[in-house]
Symmetry: C2
Subunit: 197 residues, 2 copies
């Protein structure tokens, strides 16, 4: 029987990000990650399906959080309030303790075009999850799609601002500002006298 390893998932994540940073993503093997973490390959595979999941597993969890947060809003909540709730639900993933890991992850993805594609696809998945959750509470299709794009744009902007080396501001505050700025932009775009002027 495998021993229970305390914090195995996080130790594996830290080891993987360190190795991806040092040797590149493609050159790093699961065996090396497990070895660096002082754990076995079978322990790795109990936590992650493959090395790519170390980088992207969090985004599946995020789609669930976003959907759940929107489902939990009051029936009277505005679409904007739903988006705010979704963005706030991500805060536990973006604590100051995880700031360094997020910086590493960003640099690893920026260095690899295949990972960048994966990141774009995950973004599209988050967007679909938000649109589905909004439709489920009665939003029409056009509103659900546009609001989801706006929300995910706010999320992406907030995450990018939070995950800079010099940032000290908490993610939730940054997300709130990003959402408000985009809401103001939407108002301005919507207020144009005629879109075919």
């Amino acid at each position: 029987m495998a021993r229970w390893e305390p914090n195995a998932r996080e130790r594996l994540e830290r080891a993987a990000l360190a190795l991806f940073t040092e040797h590149g993503y493609d050159a790093t093997t699961v065996a090396e990650i497990a070895d660096r973490a002082g754990l076995s390959k079978s322990t790795f595979f109990r936590h992650y399906a493959d090395k790519r999941e170390v980088l992207f597993g969090g985004q599946n969890a995020l789609a669930d959080r976003f959907s759940e947060a929107i489902r939990a809003t009051a029936p009277s909540a505005t679409i904007g309030a739903c988006l705010a709730a979704a963005l706030e639900s991500a805060a536990p993933a973006f604590t100051s303790a995880r700031h360094g890991l997020a910086l590493q992850r960003r640099a690893i993805i920026a260095a690899n075009s295949e990972l960048q594609e994966r990141e774009l696809l995950k973004r599209a998945g988050l967007c679909s999850a938000v649109a589905d959750a909004l439709r489920a509470r009665g939003a029409d299709d056009t509103t659900a799609r546009l609001a989801a794009e706006l929300g995910i744009l706010a999320f992406g902007t907030a995450f990018a601002r939070w995950a800079t080396p010099e940032n000290q501001q908490p993610y939730a505050e940054i997300a709130h500002t990003a959402l408000r700025d985009l809401q103001a932009c939407a108002a301005a775009l919507g207020a144009e006298p005629d879109i075919r002027a």
Copy 2:
């Protein structure tokens, strides 16, 4: 020296879409496409880098059209007018003569998850092209990103409506309506009293 073949590009496209429909995308080879079109493999490769480009080459051309249309608008044009110009610039690709090809292409992509991913990535590329073109004419970053998402959402909606078997309406009209609907949605989202209500 290779002979000049009239309409070779379109003959190859029609042959490829027919074969992808009949046998599936993965099972179809470039040799079979060339053969069905009555052309040589080397003629195929003068027109397309590979069989995937038959499906996605048009989207690279579209990104250029969108950028060029936005660049060509008057300096006083609103963001909405820029988006309308971009969407209208795609009309020559969506004529009634190409309606059947578009239906085939949609069904081929819907049947293959790898092609669906490629389509999502191409969508992201179109969005970046529009955002870049808007920034180049002075839009701030937040506005450029949101307007690009709105424009590409309008484009995607318009294309999906146009490429249905029963559709008789011209693409440009459908695109105009889709853009106006999204503008109205943006106004409604922007007008919410407080996004964190």
